[in-house]
């Protein structure tokens, strides 16, 4: 299942990337492309809506780290929303949950961002 990424912008100017599918070695390029596009358009606050992500692997995680570097490099920030249990386990196993603040819902991620 290829990763599908839909991009929308909130009224407050925050970019929400809603990803659906597996964020793995095959799906990671789609997320990287979407983040690069958002950064190119000057977006500094990005939320990745992970509700539709069924599975993440280390390469997919690498694409999220790449996104964080890219966005923070332009003085912005990135939040993760609605990761499922498998994604949370991988974040905790790699201790990247200390780097990425993640939120139960997109609404929570947008609050105060």
């Amino acid at each position: 299942m290829a990763l599908d990424v839909q991009t929308r912008q909130t009224d407050g100017g925050i970019i929400v990337l809603a990803a659906t599918g597996r964020l793995d070695v095959a799906g990671a390029p789609a997320l990287k492309d979407a983040v690069s596009e958002a950064a190119k358009n000057g977006s500094s606050r990005v939320v990745i809506d992970m509700e539709g992500i069924s599975f993440v692997d280390s390469t997919g995680l690498g694409s999220v780290i790449s996104a964080l570097k890219q966005i923070r490099g332009s003085q912005g920030d990135l939040r993760l929303a609605a990761p499922n249990q498998q994604v949370r386990v991988v974040l905790e196993l790699t201790t990247l949950d200390r780097v990425f603040p993640y939120y139960a819902t997109v609404e929570e991620a947008l609050t105060g961002f």
């Binding site: 793995d24 070695v25 599975f55 386990v89 991988v90 790699t94 201790t95």
Partner: protein
């Protein structure tokens, strides 16, 4: 079928997308056969490790020009799940002990993750092929 019944799934594949799909499908079939849910933690941890080794094998285990497929077997018996993957890539001994990299690193976590998620991660070079063995008690 109850969890005490043996389960076996065999496949050979060549392409990355195809191979990943087969690996996840095989775990889904085992999950259904065992009557477990998608949130079943031991099986989810096993699938995560299988995804790591599987993507390494599919990415590095097929040198340019080779027609050799990756051979895959998934078995469950006596409460233990075991996957074996055979590829024709270069030997990987030097990567096996790789530790979890720093947070900012974008790669190099796969083997460290798989080791910590499984009860046993076996690897041996057998002639011109790599043989991987992933074991976890469910």
């Amino acid at each position: 079928m109850g969890s005490k019944q043996p389960f076996e799934f065999r496949a050979s594949f060549i392409e990355l997308d195809e191979g990943l799909e087969v690996l996840h499908t095989s775990v889904e079939r085992l999950r259904q056969a065992m009557g477990r849910t998608v949130d079943d933690r031991p099986l989810m941890l096993f699938e995560t490790a299988l995804g790591e080794i599987g993507s390494n094998v599919l990415t590095h285990g097929r040198p340019p020009g080779t027609e050799m497929p990756v051979d895959y077997v998934l078995r469950f018996e006596g409460g233990v799940v075991e996957a074996s993957l055979t590829d024709s890539g270069a030997p990987v001994h030097e990567h096996l002990k790789r530790e979890m990299p720093a947070h900012e690193s974008e790669r190099g976590r796969g083997l460290a993750m798989a080791r910590s998620l499984l009860d046993e991660l076996g690897y041996r070079r057998d002639g011109d092929v790599n043989r991987w063995r992933l074991v976890k008690r469910l």
